[in-house]
Subunit: 252 residues, 2 copies
Amino acid sequence: MPYDPSAFPPFAVTVDLVVLTVRRHSLCALAVRRGEPPFQGRWALPGGFVRADEDLAQAAARELAEETGLRAHDPSVPVQDNGAHLEQLATYGDPKRDPRMRVVSVAHLALAPDLPAPRAGGDASNARWAPVEELLQQGGYGRDGEPVAPLAFDHAQILADGVERARSKIEYSSLATAFCPPEFTVGELRRVYEAVWGVALDPRNFHRKVTGTPGFLVPTGGTTTRQGGRPAQLFRAGGATYLNPPMLRPEV
Amino acid sequence: MPYDPSAFPPFAVTVDLVVLTVRRHSLCALAVRRGEPPFQGRWALPGGFVRADEDLAQAAARELAEETGLRAHDPSVPVQDNGAHLEQLATYGDPKRDPRMRVVSVAHLALAPDLPAPRAGGDASNARWAPVEELLQQGGYGRDGEPVAPLAFDHAQILADGVERARSKIEYSSLATAFCPPEFTVGELRRVYEAVWGVALDPRNFHRKVTGTPGFLVPTGGTTTRQGGRPAQLFRAGGATYLNPPMLRPEV
DNA sequence: GATCATAGTCGTCTGCCTGACGATAAACAC
DNA sequence: GTGTTTATCGTCAGGCAGACGACTATGATC
């Protein structure tokens, strides 16, 4: 049967990005302000149309670079400096999710170390890192007492799914290192876990666990006191992808 | 900005299904024979276009019902007889994955108990349950010595991803019960794990583990000897979704 | 410079879970 | 009855995690 355009309805396909980082002990996501309807002026996840000749992962990497300047981490290269982890999250295709037309969005999850202020088309006022709880509380009030509008489209759901993916994935993978600079201390890594999970972890047990997991951390030989206190050893992420046994998220 | 069709390239959106079941101690997937080009006569995963007014999950449930007669298991109803588990798997959008046009496929994963012979538009010769190793061995020879053509499109990759999802997910969730009939014995559940993972498990440790995990199994009071040997207690799936601690897949 | 606060690192102990495996129980086939 | 099959209970040793004590090495403060 030859190509018959009437045989299927046309869709627009976009990629949306959940870009997570840890700033000042809290898990933050990148949000951009919409400059046009629908939801003009509201915060949304960054994203855009997939181009005609582009793979989905390429489109996501392109959007990520446009919004943050980050290069996507090539999964075939285990350790790469200053590259964000990028993976496909899920696809959202409710017929009414975009009031203009039928749009299917392939959401991606990116994890990045703490970065300088974001840029959205060079306009800093239209992009920001916001704590995920703030973005997810629908119709509440932000830290400054100002009313908070929920994210545009179904982006609150997408963000929630991305956060949950990140929370569960750092349990059994070494992905938490994607939130850290190329060299980091055990304490810094622990604060990543604490921020992402929103819990306090015992520094001694955490230290024993991560240093005892083969392939997770590789000492670089250096030390730092950038966190104050006694100098701490610096590590790089090791080659291990999966943690066995996993880091257990404390129960409630 | 009004709806501007020139602002984005049009895509076709399909759903493809990885339908898994356990038959005769091996993990099998549903395959259908393609009746038209491209890949005419080759085996492929069942699937089809998403309709204009349909959600992605609805489209997947519709395709599943068309191919197998199964109703999709509503996730909000924890226990439902004879309903298959259905979840979104991943989305595949390589520009060249379909030679005819730009098609983005949202793959879904379905887990079903052992079923009578499948039907594909009523034609049994065009649908079958095949062991996943047989479908995944590219260009090899099947059990009957006949050469095996690889699956159409990128369906081998999709199937491999679905199998890996199932293998890892039964570790930390109660999803293995989706492969079982409404009432089943501990031994039947163990044989599911053994088929999906391709390993042998110790019956005594397995029994201790699953009966000791709260909420996993609920005794129905009945017994059965349908597997031969001493009568075994019958269980239903309990309300628990996540297993804590997880079932550990044996190393190597 | 003594003291304090802050982080980091090493140990210990106890309880739980797992893997290995022995032993018993209840059906069916002959 | 004897053997075979499957189910179920128990035991034991090793490993890992949570709770927590102790000590170390910095910078900050008086």
